[in-house]
């Protein structure tokens, strides 16, 4: 008898379907598996055989052939175990053959027949949903991931016998099998659980304002300052003011975390924007993603969130240069011999660095670094990378006495409200463009949405001449000015917004006064 069961795998961060076919026929008692299989898929044979036996099904002494198609696609991972077991049982007519037709089945088997969790359930189910599949059986601990999708019923399986009982339509009166449900709205009301708050940071008015602008328009930001001035502390506060995630954004992020296996057990969705702060020893592959079959790296894990690089010049040069393309294209393509993989990487880059090796420049009372030492240190960060940074703020150290006697500072909640308003304005304005933030505006869109009156235009041109800005810098200033205008609730970009945008646009080494 022949049977077919639908299963899936991931390609990059997208799911795709794999058909598991099984045939039981007369002949020598052999269990054959074919279909361009990786080592862990070939090992499935032993797992499935033992799991079936330990669940009370014995394999008949007949010729069993299992094929995973399409046969030209290299298959890896342990996602197919459950589907293989079900396909064999179906071919043996222990499950009615038409019962499995409308399901997609995912899951790894352990030797005693338990169903174990796998990575990438959400992308696979999301693909199945788009293909019109109505029902899915997934490992119980991954079931919540799939439950956020509408139009597909997701069943969480604890063990193989449970799955067989369900597919054979045997009713278990004590514990009926119900699809997992989840209230998506409720997930988002929980809010971000960040501990750091802007009210804990004393002074630093200019830097805080810079972070507010960066968060509102999703602009990249560089902080420069002496050690202990509060760069990392300010960075930790960023999640507390970021605009809330939309469901689509949230699903995009969850897919990536699902593929990488970083979702916590029983976690349905990632509901707050990611904040990734990798250590500076990280390799370029860890940043971009890599491996024979590439898995997402830090840049993708920070998708729709913040990638914080502390001590920027300490990062390996090649690791930093890897960021250039994703910073422009908002995604990353890795090519391998057999295929190329595209990962989303639309993150907000926040970097922090000292201005010189000792960290105290330009305070010459403390900094004894020579001009050439400072220059060498600053040029560790390449100009092309700096060009991609919209805002640059300097953090100065606040005297300890001042920390004790400061008036109340604004809380993150107050700032977040303004950010959320600015975000809402951008969302409405760009509803037809398919973008969410000012930082994503292309040059042609800039002309449409950031037009200046003749007076403001002349002012900006003067500034361009005075400070010798490049064309790229000009566009970055316009984008930042647009965000500042949004924060102020203005329809048009005014001169004061341009002034502010110019002051924050200084990530230019030439401008560091080190000739």
């Amino acid at each position: 008898m022949y049977s077919k069961v639908l299963s899936g795998t991931v390609h990059g961060v997208d799911g795709c379907h794999i058909n598991v076919e099984a045939d039981v026929s007369n002949g020598l008692p052999v269990f054959d598996m074919v279909g361009y299989l990786g080592a862990e898929v070939r090992e499935a044979k032993e797992r499935v055989r033992t799991a079936l036996r330990n669940s009370g099904f014995s394999l008949p002494a007949r010729h069993i052939t299992v094929n995973l198609s399409p046969a030209n696609l290299h298959k890896e991972g342990s996602t197919f175990d459950l589907a293989i077991a079900v396909a064999i049982l179906s071919a043996m007519e222990m499950i009615p053959p038409n019962a499995v037709e409308e399901y997609v089945i995912l899951g790894e088997l352990s030797l005693n027949g338990e169903v174990r969790p796998v990575n990438g359930v959400l992308p696979m189910l999301s693909y199945a949903q788009k293909q019109g599949v109505k029902k899915a059986i997934v490992p119980a601990s991954n079931a919540l991931e799939g439950a956020v999708l509408s139009g597909i019923e997701v069943y969480g399986a604890m063990n193989l016998s449970e799955v067989v009982r369900h597919l054979s339509n045997e009713k278990d009166m004590e514990k009926p099998w119900e699809p997992v449900r989840i209230n998506v709205g409720q997930l988002f009301t929980a809010g971000a659980d960040t501990e750091a708050d802007f009210s804990e940071v004393t002074g630093q008015t200019f830097a805080k304002r810079g972070l507010e602008i960066a968060a509102a328009g999703f602009h990249n930001l560089l902080m420069v300052g002496p050690p202990g001035a509060g760069k990392s502390m300010l960075a930790q506060c960023i999640p507390s003011i970021l605009p809330a995630l939309t469901l689509d954004e949230s699903i995009e992020i969850t897919k990536i975390y699902s593929v990488k296996g970083l979702l916590k057990e029983q976690q349905a969705l990632i509901t707050s924007r990611p904040f990734r702060s990798p250590h500076h020893t990280l390799s370029s592959a860890a940043l971009s993603g890599g491996g024979g079959i590439p898995v997402p790296g830090e840049m993708s894990l920070a998708h729709n969130g913040v990638l914080f690089l502390d001590e920027l010049p300490e990062f390996k040069r090649e690791a930093l240069e890897v960021m250039r393309q994703p910073l422009e294209d908002k995604r990353l393509t890795l090519s391998r011999v057999h295929a190329s993989y595209t990962f989303p990487a639309d993150f907000m880059l926040v970097a922090a660095m000292n201005p010189c090796p000792c960290g105290y420049y330009p305070d010459r009372r403390r900094c004894h670094c020579s001009e050439s030492m400072i220059r060498r240190y600053l040029t560790k960060v390449s100009q092309p990378l700096l060009d991609r940074i919209d805002l640059c703020v300097e953090i100065t150290s606040v005297p300890v006495e001042q920390l004790r006697q400061r008036a109340r500072e604004e809380t993150s909640e107050q700032i977040q409200k303004r950010v959320a308003m600015a975000h809402e304005r951008q969302r409405k304005r760009y509803i037809k463009e398919g973008i969410l933030f000012n930082s994503q505006l292309s040059v042609s869109q800039l002309e449409r949405y950031c037009s200046l009156s003749s007076e403001e235009g002349a002012f900006l041109l003067d500034a361009v001449k005075q400070y010798q800005f490049s064309a790229r810098a000009y566009h970055r200033i316009l984008r930042v000015a647009r965000t500042i205008a949004d924060l102020a609730g203005e329809q048009r970009i005014l001169k004061e917004h341009l002034c502010e945008a110019i002051a924050y646009h200084n990530a230019n080494l030439k401008y560091w006064n080190v000739e």
Partner: protein
């Protein structure tokens, strides 16, 4: 003996490896003129020179090498002046250990003009640099030559100030005449050469070495009539220049700093030990016989018409560059209110940004 030939002998004298200044001075005492020294017999010389020194001396007597050297100097627009040359600066002749020859690019200071050496810390802050360029500019306007060492910090600021005022400025090097040290100052080197001159007692390709700079400082002191220190630490190379200047009887001026300010400790202790405290150019000009006409302040706030908010912002700024956060705190304005004012003031050239988002007043 024609002038060209004489020049060659002197050039040989200055390019003798392994034979020191003192030995040459002693030999010159014996032989009067470098040509006679050049032609001296080995047997005669052995009374004065022994062993390695003698072989080095004999080896250096290679006229072809000297001629080639002369051509290379000419190619690089370097003039060589020896002690008996009529263009050799008189102020150097009085020096006890005056160089036998000097190398010059550009022009030497005009004869009879007064000159001031402006020196100070390489790692000066905005205050030290602003003041240096202010004095350089104002003194240049009065026709006074500005001399300094073409180093980072105060030196650079002084040269730039003089260039801004189109005055004569002389840079004295502690390395070979064709070596640009520090490299970052390459454009300043060109500007100084064009509008003044560069002088060194070291020939082509002599690398900068720590030991050469104190020797360079004695030339700075000798070439100037007065020495102005704008910012110096307790133990600073600028104080060597001052010591040399005191020995040579020059006027010493010093710009005061705040007490407890490490960058100005040297200046303050100079004032304690008798240097003249200066707060403006007239304090120097007065010393040199200029008649003081009007009371002139460095910063004249009352002359500038500003609207209220601009006045408030301008009034919290000084010589020292202030970071924007401090300005926000002192004025109580928000970032959005403050920036248009700062940019307006900057465009009117009343204030400037020495570094991004640091502001100080223009003087």
């Amino acid at each position: 003996m024609d002038r060209q030939e004489e020049l060659l002998y002197w050039l040989w004298l200055c390019n003798m490896e392994g034979v020191g200044h003192r030995t040459i001075d002693m030999l010159l005492g014996q032989y009067k003129h470098p040509r006679q020294l050049y032609q001296a017999k080995e047997s005669e010389l052995s009374c004065w020179l022994k062993g390695r020194k003698l072989t080095q001396f004999l080896k250096s007597r290679d006229m072809d090498r000297i001629k080639r050297l002369m051509e290379r100097l000419a190619k690089q627009n370097v003039r060589f002046l020896h002690r008996q040359h009529e263009d050799y600066p008189n102020s150097l002749r009085h020096l006890e250990d005056a160089p036998f020859g000097i190398y010059v690019r550009g022009a030497l200071p005009p004869k009879g003009a007064r000159s001031i050496a402006i020196v100070g810390a390489r790692q000066a802050d905005e205050y030290g640099c602003s003041v240096a360029s202010y004095f350089a500019r104002e003194l240049s306007n009065k026709g006074i030559c500005v001399i300094s060492g073409l180093a980072h910090g105060v030196d650079s600021a002084a040269h730039k100030g003089a260039i801004e005022a189109s005055g004569y400025t002389l840079g004295i090097l502690g390395c070979g005449i064709n070596i640009c040290y520090p490299k970052e100052n390459a454009s300043l080197f060109r500007a100084v050469e064009k509008q003044g001159g560069i002088l060194s007692e070291y020939g082509l390709n002599v690398p900068p070495k720590a030991g050469l700079f104190p020797l360079r400082n004695r030339l700075i002191a000798a070439m100037a009539d007065g020495i102005l220190v704008t910012q110096a630490r307790e133990r600073s190379g600028s104080l060597i220049t001052v010591d040399q200047g005191l020995e040579q009887g020059k006027d010493i001026f010093s710009v005061p700093g705040r007490i407890g300010d490490a960058l100005s400790e040297g200046c303050n202790s100079l004032i304690q030990s008798g240097a003249k405290l200066v707060t403006g150019v007239w304090d120097i000009l007065e010393e040199w016989g200029w008649e003081k006409k009007i009371e002139q302040k460095i910063l004249n706030h009352s002359d500038i018409t500003l609207v209220n908010i601009e006045k408030m912002v301008y009034s919290v700024l000084g010589f020292e560059a202030k970071y924007i956060d401090i300005i926000i705190e002192e004025t109580g304005l928000s970032v959005a209110q403050l920036l248009p004012v700062l940019i307006e003031l900057e465009q009117r050239k009343l204030i400037r940004q020495p570094r991004p988002n640091y502001y100080c007043v223009c003087v």
